[in-house]
């Protein structure tokens, strides 16, 4: 499994181009999340792909060939913070509810909706953590689940910024030196 981050133009069709490219390269995407950044015109993607380092290099380099992709980077080998968010609707009757609440506590999940026969839990964390919670919830009866897929960020001073600011900085530099 390889994790890539891409900054793309925040406009229609770009997600299609990225997904189409992965399909063309015969690389299976495990999860792809996309959301806006602090700059409205730029979106950030986290792509988790079923491939090896060679495949990730090809995906990264091919992504950067797309006009609408500003930057793509394989961050699999770096020190990463990875998060996945899940909403899980689980059966909860009067009898098993106390037991359920204990587990929720252990996994640091939150109850965000309460109904007579069910609860909705919100949990965030690594994929392993959510998979673990899911495992223990299964016997209670998982009715519905929605997961965001992974987002990832390199830790500490290892910055991965979109190139816009950089380009502007160089522009300023050039104008300044003239």
């Amino acid at each position: 499994m390889q994790t890539l981050v891409a900054y793309v133009e925040n406009k229609p069709g770009v997600l299609n181009r990225v997904a189409s490219l992965a399909r063309r390269l015969a690389i299976n995407i495990d999860s792809l999340t996309v959301g806006p950044t602090e700059n409205d015109e730029i979106a950030r993607m986290t792509i988790v792909a079923h491939t090896d380092a060679r495949g990730a290099h090809r995906l990264e380099a091919s992504l950067e060939k797309l006009v609408d992709v500003l930057l793509a980077e394989n961050i699999s080998d770096r020190s990463l913070l990875e998060r996945d968010l899940a909403l899980i609707k689980v059966l909860a009757d009067q009898k098993n509810r106390p037991h359920l609440m204990e587990l929720i506590k252990v996994f640091r999940a939150r109850v965000v909706d309460v109904a007579p026969e069910s609860l909705i839990l919100e949990v965030s964390g690594t994929v392993d953590k959510i998979d673990g919670l899911l495992e223990v919830l299964r016997p209670f009866g998982v009715l519905e689940m929605a997961r965001t897929g992974r987002i990832a960020m390199t830790r500490g001073g290892d910055l991965l910024r979109p190139p816009v600011a950089l380009v502007k900085a160089t522009e300023l530099e050039t104008t300044g030196s003239k």
Binding site: N16, H57, E64, K65, L71, P163
Partner: protein, 570 residues
């Protein structure tokens, strides 16, 4: 100045230096055609939109500039798909302009509406739909920039009919390309460069694999200098042919599936592959597990995505071939590689003696003779445009190109039907050059309707049909690998000479070796297009051949005496 989107399109094309457009009109592109009529642009009416894209491609490959094809929405656009894919696989800068239904009805399955940007997404370098007249000029400028920069490729611009009809202020200066800012990657670091230099200066059996990238980069001079200083023998890919003179003693010829045995064996025995502007295609490497096992590898390539794709390399220099070669050459120590070069000459063995050209006339007509005679008669100076199949490989073997952009052929996609339209495009790009079409009887029948385009435009190309009554390359595979079960390869064709006459073109049929040279001479004398139908040996094969998936050294060699062997068959 207020102009319609259609007028802006024509103005922009003119300002971008376009003189020729290959296209076919229709409802959704009609406003543009109306504006075309008032412009100085020369529109060439094709007979099928696939032809338009191949013409634009041939134009681009012959000129080094951008070729432009135009079609209407729906079927007009979908007919372009094969030509766009052909340009994509061979990195050819083609801009395709398609009409689209009005933006108000987009998405409603309107008449002749099709999602052509969706369809062509994986086969274009970029594509865009333009829905406002205000965006026409900028989109076109961006399309030309994208198509021709870096590793070139096709770009499609889909323009809705209302964007063509609406009027807006036309301001060329304000319509400069606004492409998203890209992270600037360092192509290679000093350590990588030093490693490459070290490999170049320590190899005992180096060989250059020269590809299309040298021609695209315009790096012929830099490349010759590099070869000269390093004394490296040069093997070429099919699309690399012309990047280095065929008559240079260091030029070994084409490598790969139908490369000469000494070229492939030299690659397998080498200790350093210097790959320049090529992508280790499977037709070039054969089985990757046994490919150049003893060789270190340097890859000079503009496309980072090609590095370590098929072959893992020891040093990768990402960037423009010419610039990198110019940087490398001063660091190369001239060394005596005489033993290695002599060894390669020995690998040639008696090939020259066994050459089909030097064998006596046995009453049979062979494609190799025809192509070699065309080479001799044109002194190797013609632009030759080939189709795909046996004749394509024979052309690569028997027509010796000394200049870049003189062999135009569909390499990556292997598109039958490419030759005739691509040659028309090449002729428009190089009106003063002699242009020959070398095409099989199968491929010719795919796009022969473009003969009418030739007549309508009054252009002069020479068409040599290598007619063996078979889909020859497929037949050859059936002969070698399917016990001669010739399923769906015997091919009925019309009388091509009579067909040419019906179009108003002179046509000749040639059945014997003695007629070949006189007919070629007569055709060259003629100031109009001439079609020559060479009825060649039916079951001749291209040798050597590396079977698909076999090791590069594992070739099916030429029979000892092909003439005698086939001549004695009943």
């Amino acid at each position: 100045m207020k102009l319609t989107g259609a007028e802006i399109l024509c103005e922009s094309l003119t300002k971008l230096g376009v003189r020729h457009i290959f296209g076919y009109p229709g409802g959704a592109i009609l406003p543009v055609y109306d504006a075309l009529g008032k412009s100085k642009l020369h529109h060439i009416l094709v007979r099928h939109e696939q032809g338009a894209t191949h013409m634009a491609d041939g134009y681009a490959r012959a000129s080094g500039g951008v070729g432009v094809a135009m079609a209407t929405s729906g079927p007009g656009a979908t007919n372009m798909v094969t030509g766009i894919a052909t340009a994509m696989l061979d990195s050819s800068p083609v801009v395709c302009i398609t009409g689209q239904v009005s933006s108000k009805v987009l998405g409603s399955d309107a008449f002749q509406e099709i999602d052509i940007t969706g369809i062509t997404m994986p086969i274009t370098k970029h594509n865009v739909i333009v829905k406002r007249a205000e965006d026409v000029a900028r989109s076109l400028r961006e399309a030309f920039l994208i198509a021709s920069s870096g590793r070139p490729g096709p770009v499609l611009v889909d323009i809705t009919k209302d964007a063509q009809q609406a009027s807006c202020e036309f301001n060329w200066e304000a319509s400069a390309p606004q492409l998203p800012p890209k992270r600037q990657r360092i192509s290679y670091d000093q350590a990588e460069f030093d490693r490459a230099v070290e490999l170049l200066n320590s190899a005992k059996r180096p060989i250059i694999l020269a590809g299309h990238g040298i021609i695209v980069s315009g790096a012929m001079r830099a490349f010759q200098q590099f070869v000269r200083v390093g004394n490296y023998p040069v093997a070429m890919t099919l699309l690399g042919i012309g990047c280095f003179p065929a008559n240079d003693p260091m030029n070994l010829g084409m490598m790969g599936m139908h490369g000469e045995a000494w070229v492939n064996n030299a690659i397998q025995e080498s200790d350093l592959l210097i790959a320049v502007g090529m992508r280790f295609d499977d037709r070039v490497t054969g089985d990757l597990r046994t490919y150049a096992k003893g060789a270190r590898k340097i890859h000079i390539e503009i496309d980072r995505a090609e590095i370590n794709k098929n072959v893992t390399v020891d040093a990768a220099l990402v960037g423009d071939a010419g610039e990198i070669l110019d940087k490398l050459t001063p660091h190369i120590q001239a060394r005596d590689l005489g033993d290695w070069v002599r060894h390669i000459q020995e690998l040639k063995g008696d090939s020259a003696v066994r050459d089909i050209q030097s064998l006596p006339d046995n009453g049979h007509l062979y494609a190799a003779h025809v192509i070699n005679d065309i080479w001799k008669e044109t002194r190797g100076e013609a632009i030759v445009v080939t189709d795909v199949g046996q004749h394509q490989m024979w052309e690569a073997q028997y027509y010796h190109h000394n200049q870049p952009r003189t062999l135009i052929t569909s390499g990556g996609l292997g598109t039958m039907g490419f030759a005739l339209p691509a040659a028309i495009g090449a002729k428009f790009a190089k009106p003063d050059s002699e242009v020959w079409v070398v095409v099989g009887d199968g491929g010719f029948q795919m796009t022969m309707s473009e003969l009418a385009t030739i007549v309508q435009e009054k252009i002069n190309v020479k068409i040599a049909i290598i007619n063996n009554g078979f889909l020859g390359m497929v037949r050859q595979w059936q002969e070698f690998f399917y016990d001669k079960r010739y399923v769906a390869t015997p091919l009925v064709a019309p009388d091509f000479a009579a067909l040419a006459n019906a179009f108003g073109i002179r046509g000749e049929r040639i059945t014997s070796r003695a007629e070949v040279v006189p007919t070629i001479r007569a055709a060259r004398q003629c100031s109009e297009t001439v079609l020559l139908d060479f009825r060649v040996e039916q079951e001749d094969s291209v040798y050597p051949m590396v079977p698909a998936g076999a090791s590069l050294h594992d070739m099916i060699r030429r029979p000892d005496n092909p003439l005698v062997e086939t001549a004695t068959e009943p």
